[in-house]
């Protein structure tokens, strides 16, 4: 987190230890003393910048990120066309069933998955558990999900994500929560839904809430923005940015309960930039087929004929839990502050 050895073997360039600068960005001299006749040229490679963190999420747009627990599952996900995998010890449905305390996965499990695929590998840290995040960063995980699916480590505060070079994704149920997480340094947002249920209703609720909030903020006169920021509990400058641009400052995926190609396409229609599928794939009858079908459904979400085609003969979906029949304390979406 604070200091690290910068690998640059492939680049065969500088390879000295570098100290993290502001916001965790690391600067590495690539060619000190090389001049190109330009006065304003910055010859240092800046790592962990906001643009670089946010940029990876932008490259994932229109894609599916799949929860996996073994290298074999990770290969199935990659072969199906996943843009990234989330390395876990257990998928949310099993975390829910097992009860107890859910923590960061065993680094050995994550490492095996990192070695099995060439696509980005994400991993989850508990809310507020910045040491789990430091461990994941040290391992070279590509994105950290500070996730309500795990048992929170801090009941008041999230991780200061600006202090890291690795980017973070965080869950939200509305615009205020999304902007608080972005204010803390999240470079990507996902709506929470209700993980491990296979019931898409909460994912829909949260995506609609975020989109409705954005439309509302966009339509407010400027003098009302401060009060809106106060009411949403969101940083004013980010509320102002949403007002001016009509969109979130970072990429927003849907998550929590997506189980079918149609679910995934529905979330794309509602405004998701892409989807996370947790238990929905590897808790289904034929994960490889379902994974491929969901990838195609997200890429071509507006083509209903194609959706019908890809939804055929992919085996049974995960059985699922009806969220309306759950007690409030059974829901995990309320975790996060």
């Amino acid at each position: 987190m604070v200091e690290e050895n910068v690998k640059y073997e492939a680049a065969a360039a500088a390879g000295s230890a570098a100290a993290a600068g502001a916001e965790g960005a690391t600067r590495v001299g690539l060619a000190a003393g090389v001049a190109y006749g330009s006065s304003s040229m910055d010859l240092e490679a800046a790592k962990g910048t906001w643009r670089v963190k946010k940029g990876l999420a932008e490259m994932l747009k229109g894609g599916v990120i799949m929860d996996v627990t073994t290298p074999e599952q990770a290969k199935i996900a990659e072969d199906a066309g996943a843009v990234a995998v989330m390395a876990l010890e257990r998928v949310p449905a099993d975390i829910r069933a097992a009860g107890g305390v859910a923590r960061m996965a065993d680094p050995a499990v994550i490492e095996k998955i990192m070695n099995a695929v060439t696509i980005p590998v994400m991993a989850k840290a508990r809310i507020g558990h910045f040491v789990e995040a430091m461990i994941l960063e040290a391992m070279g995980v590509d994105y950290i999900d500070e996730s309500e699916v795990l048992t929170p480590a801090d009941e008041s505060y999230h991780i200061n994500k600006h202090a890291f070079k690795v980017p973070f994704v965080c869950g939200c149920r509305n615009l205020g929560e999304a902007l608080r997480r972005i204010g803390e340094g999240a470079a990507m947002i996902r709506t929470k839904g209700e993980a491990g249920t296979g019931d898409v209703v909460e994912a829909v609720r949260h995506m609609r809430a975020v989109m409705d909030d954005i439309r509302r903020v966009q339509s407010l006169p400027v003098e009302e923005l401060m009060t809106a920021a106060k009411e949403m509990g969101a940083p004013y400058d980010l509320v102002k940015e949403v007002h001016d641009t009509g969109k979130l400052p970072v990429v927003n995926f849907a998550a929590g309960g997506i189980a079918t190609p149609a679910d995934a396409a529905l979330m794309m229609y509602l405004g998701a930039d892409g989807v996370f599928v947790g238990s929905g794939i590897f808790k289904s009858e034929d994960p490889a087929k379902r994974a491929k079908a969901i990838v195609e459904a997200v890429a071509h979400y507006e083509d209903a004929k194609l959706l019908a085609e890809v939804s055929k003969g992919i085996g049974e979906a995960m059985r699922g839990i009806y969220v309306g029949g759950m007690k409030p304390e059974e829901k995990i979406q309320g975790r996060g502050w």
Partner: protein
């Protein structure tokens, strides 16, 4: 941009021209009939540039092409390629995009359109898919440019970086190049012109051109600097 409030009609109106439109087919006939004379007279605003919209940072490229004065549209189907003067393959996950290309015959359609004169620019993932040789990988590709590329060549995301690089072909000051889990070009064939290298002892090739094919390992669409997109436009116009 906030996408639709829901409902097919709302969303369709955002993406009307991803193929299938009869106007595009008409456009092709016109282009084939008057291709040579047309290309000589065309100006930037006449050009129709598609952005492959299967996966990746499509909107950033659409916005950038709009800024440099071309009409740009997302493309998802072989039909959508007809009548295009140029196509951009955006940043994304190369294994994902490669698979989706093959699944719907877009790979063959793109190669055919390139033979017919369509220009092509690939960023990052696009560069990988353009290469004939991908180091240590048998993944699907277009294989149009005579070059050897290496994926994730700088390491994982924590090693992603931005840096100023000189690109003489686009003119002016050094360009702020953003590399995200980026590839680089290990070697190019005789017909490929190297347009940019990383500063420093490695001097890796990060931008190259072969006729009407352009590739960069970095993402100009993530910056506010439209010079690379403007260069692609001039390339299409044959300037």
């Amino acid at each position: 941009m906030v996408r639709g409030h829901g409902g097919p009609a709302a969303s369709r109106s955002k993406l009307p021209a991803t193929g299938r439109g009869s106007s595009l087919v008409r456009g092709r006939v016109e282009l084939e009939t008057h291709q040579m004379s047309n290309m000589n007279q065309k100006s930037a605003s006449d050009l129709r540039v598609g952005v492959l919209a299967l996966q990746g940072d499509v909107s950033e490229h659409l916005e950038m092409m709009g800024r440099v004065g071309a009409r740009s549209l997302p493309v998802k189907t072989p039909e959508g390629l007809e009548g295009l003067d140029g196509l951009i393959i955006p940043g994304g996950e190369s294994t994902t995009v490669g698979k989706l290309l093959v699944r719907y015959g877009l790979d063959e359609a793109i190669c055919r359109r390139v033979r017919e004169g369509m220009a092509l620019y690939g960023t990052c993932t696009g560069l990988i898919l353009l290469a004939q040789r991908i180091h240590g990988s048998a993944q699907p590709r277009l294989g149009l440019m005579d070059m050897d590329v290496e994926r994730n060549a700088f390491g994982r995301q924590v090693d992603s970086f931005e840096i100023d690089i000189p690109i003489p072909a686009i003119g002016g000051a050094p360009f702020r190049a953003v590399f995200i889990r980026a590839p680089f070009i290990r070697e190019v064939g005789p017909g490929v012109e190297v347009l940019a290298r990383l500063p420093g002892p490695g001097g890796q090739i990060v931008m190259a051109r072969q006729g009407k094919l352009l590739a960069s390992a970095f993402h100009p669409e993530l910056t506010d600097d439209p010079r690379v997109h403007a260069y692609f436009l001039r390339m299409i116009l044959g300037q």
